[in-house]
């Protein structure tokens, strides 16, 4: 932490954006483990915003038309469960996670910032979690139990945890996740296999469930990764939005 000083005292500097980049990232890491800091940061950030409100100044009248015209060409991001501060921390992490990003989606993922995944290889834990998942089907159970099943676990933005399980002998993969944000109304999460830079649909997730254990549709084939996007209900033939999750298949 900052020169061994109690990071708690940085709440004021953080709320006024008075930290350097490195310190801010370190402090944001600390925030994820310190609920009382988080509360204080929120209060002090709200206080700083009052300083901002008091400085209001009217823009030239033509600016409104310009802004309204610009937004007609700007696609909105899918909803996710993170604060701006966390998004910034995640964006930083995403840069360092680029080796996991699928080639086809790397640029989009970087632009997307906070929703790229970063990964931990904890195969045993993941396998155990997979075993405990109640929704699994026969096929899913068979896949999990396959002697050559490999897993990779990743944290999704917003704290959800996702695991991908692949078996070469069965040529199948499964996607498991817990604690995901529900997709917005009328939208659904769609899974994809990534083959040679293109995305191949691997089915939809139940929009009502935030926990899932889903056998991915279709063979793994030569896929080297998988992704998840938010799509209109019913799914899309190809991704229409940046991925909210990207994982290299476990090797």
């Amino acid at each position: 932490m900052t020169h061994g000083v109690d990071p708690h005292t940085l709440t004021g500097a953080y709320a006024t954006d008075a930290l350097g980049d490195e310190e801010r990232r370190t402090f944001e890491e600390h925030l994820t483990r310190c609920p009382s800091c988080l509360l204080e940061v929120r209060e002090l950030t709200a206080t700083a915003a009052r300083l901002g409100l008091a400085a209001a100044a009217s823009p030239r009248r033509t600016m409104k038309d310009e802004v309204l015209r610009r937004v007609t060409t700007v696609r909105q991001e899918p909803p996710f469960t993170e604060s701006a501060g966390q998004a910034r921390a995640l964006r930083h992490r995403a840069r360092h996670a680029s080796r996991w990003a699928l080639a086809a989606c790397a640029a989009a993922a970087t632009a997307l910032g906070g929703t790229t995944v970063w990964q931990h290889q904890r195969a045993d834990e993941a396998r155990e979690r997979a075993r405990q998942t109640q929704e699994r089907s026969e096929d899913l159970a068979g896949l999990m139990a396959a002697p050559d099943a490999r897993t990779r676990t990743a944290k999704l933005a917003g704290g959800a945890s996702a695991t991908i399980v692949v078996s070469d002998s069965r040529n199948q993969a499964a996607f498991l996740a817990a604690g995901m944000a529900k997709p917005p109304r009328g939208k659904v999460y769609q899974l994809w296999f990534q083959d040679q830079g293109s995305m191949r649909s691997a089915g939809l997730l139940d929009p009502e469930s935030t926990t899932t254990a889903t056998l991915m549709k279709g063979p793994v084939g030569k896929a080297t990764g998988m992704g998840m996007t938010v799509e209109p209900a019913g799914g899309s033939p190809e991704p229409t939005s940046p991925p909210v999750a990207l994982l290299a298949l476990p090797t």
Binding site: A13, A56, M63, P79
Partner: protein, 205 residues
Amino acid sequence: MEAIAVLERYRVKEVVHIGSRAAAGPDLQELMARVARGDQRAFSYVYDVVAAPVLGVVRAVLRDHAQSEEVTQEVLVEVWRTAPRYREDRGTAMNWILTLAHRRAIDRVRSVEAASAREHKAALLAHTPAFDEVSEQVETRLEREQVRRCLRTLTEVQRQSVSLAYYRGLTYRQVAELLSLPLGTVKTRLRDGLIRLRDCLGVSA
């Protein structure tokens, strides 16, 4: 001192609709929910409420009018783009937007040049932004008076630290250098000062 000086510069010249605490309440929240669903008309109402505060925040930091308008536009487009990610349980929409505005202004000012090179020490301590146009509405005036009153309850060092950091966009290290104070002192004064302001303004998270 500094912040009060900044606020003293305002004059009544023009009546505009701008965000007030009242406007930052349920109306803006409801509008943001519609914007999050892609409602462009709702966004135009959001613009009416937040554009002036956003410009105010950005210009306090950047000073340069053309750059401030440019960053303000970028912030407003970003509000549109990221509205689906705004979460009400993390604070009001106005706070979210003004925090975003402040950060973007800071990003800009720090990317352009080191703040220490921007201005001489004396200028930073004495200079107030030359606001050539000023907006005013009853709620804004009340807000400004309340903030000004509360800033007066701070100690000199607290007030300077808070205003140099927030209104001038300096890092706390730069503030420490400027005021010839130890880093730890500035850090704690920033926090103490904001806590005192929070209590005076009756802010809750």
